[in-house]
């Protein structure tokens, strides 16, 4: 049993301490995932908070059948997809790279990152979300499909198309 699952089982029993640990570990990642949908910090933070409130409310129904992260990203995907459908997109905020190397590399890297983000922006929401879950969070196609409520072939196709779009960027 991994550490997250162990903590979540404690949360199921009502442990706020375990809940705090899970929040501190995963909330920034969930906010980064929500950022993929909204490109707006306030909305991403709001969504991340909502995800953890839902996790708390649903604690008694948690079953450690699948990985904790799959369960967490299932909740996150529902919250974000619902919110993305409900709200009009807000103007994207300035891009902030997660890891920044040296000054020169930073300039080149930021430029490249900006191009990648611009290309990702053009993708449909689900393709973007699937790509993030697989490539950034390291979920398998099967886990990403479960989190997004899609079939395995649908996720495979979404990832393929999104990668092709980035490949075109590389060929330019």
């Amino acid at each position: 049993m991994d550490e997250d699952t162990r903590l979540m089982l404690l949360v199921r029993e009502g442990s706020e301490r375990a809940f705090r640990q899970l929040f501190q570990k995963h909330a920034p990642r969930i906010a980064a995932y929500a950022w993929r949908f909204f490109r707006n910090r306030a909305q991403a933070e709001e969504a991340a908070q909502e995800v953890f409130l839902r996790l708390w409310r649903a604690r008694s129904s948690y079953q450690p059948k699948a990985a904790f992260t799959t369960w967490l990203y299932t909740i996150a995907s529902r919250v974000c997809l619902k919110e993305a459908r409900r709200n009009r997109p807000t103007p994207p905020e300035e891009l902030v790279p997660e890891a920044t190397p040296g000054p020169e590399e930073k300039l080149a890297g930021n430029d490249r990152l900006a191009k990648v983000q611009a290309a990702l922006e053009k993708l449909p929401t689900q393709q973007r979300a699937a790509l993030h879950l697989v490539r950034v969070e390291g979920l398998s196609y099967q886990e990403a499909a479960a989190a997004l409520g899609l079939s395995l072939p649908a996720v495979k196709s979404a990832i393929f198309r999104a990668t092709q779009a980035l490949r075109r960027l590389e060929e330019e």
Partner: protein, 153 residues
């Protein structure tokens, strides 16, 4: 496996999502096909690009705001009985409540309605103790009866 099929599977291959057997077939093809090997390189670069991602720098108040919301949530759910009861109990309660309401409507549908006048009468029953006298009063409202009484008188 032909080149077209291989290229369709390259992304899943790079992601490590193919079954071992499928992956081996693909590797065998790639070893003997330069064009597909080149496709693999381009796919790997694209996959690497997709791992680049930006993220928001969370606001200072992010955690504090969350825990404040969490405390409110706890207070709310403390008074919310639905947070404690199993779903089947909630479903059974909802069904019972629906039956009660439906039953009340069915039961009251065939009964006469109580009017405002009925309520006035009910609240002044002492006035109706001498019902005969009241009937006579009604008779006195009839002009012909009054005339007849006068003639008798």
């Amino acid at each position: 496996m032909d080149c077209e099929k291989v290229r369709q599977e390259l992304v899943a291959f790079v992601d490590g999502q193919l079954q071992e057997k499928e992956a081996q077939v693909l590797k065998n093809h790639l070893a003997g096909c330069q064009a597909c090997a080149r496709e693999l390189e381009l796919t790997e670069k694209a996959v690497e690009l997709s791992r680049m991602h930006d993220a928001p720098v969370l606001s200072r108040d992010f955690e504090r705001n969350f825990w404040a919301r969490f405390e409110r949530e706890k207070k709310r759910s403390f008074f919310d009985i639905t947070a404690y009861l199993p779903r089947w109990v909630l479903a059974a309660s909802a069904a019972a409540a629906t039956l009660l309401v439906a039953g009340w409507f069915v039961w009251t549908a065939g009964r006469p309605r109580v009017t405002e006048e009925d309520k006035v009468v009910a609240s002044h029953l002492e006035l109706f103790s001498d019902y005969e006298a009241i009937n006579l009063m009604d008779l006195l409202d009839d002009f012909e009866v009054i005339e007849a009484l006068d003639e008798e008188g």
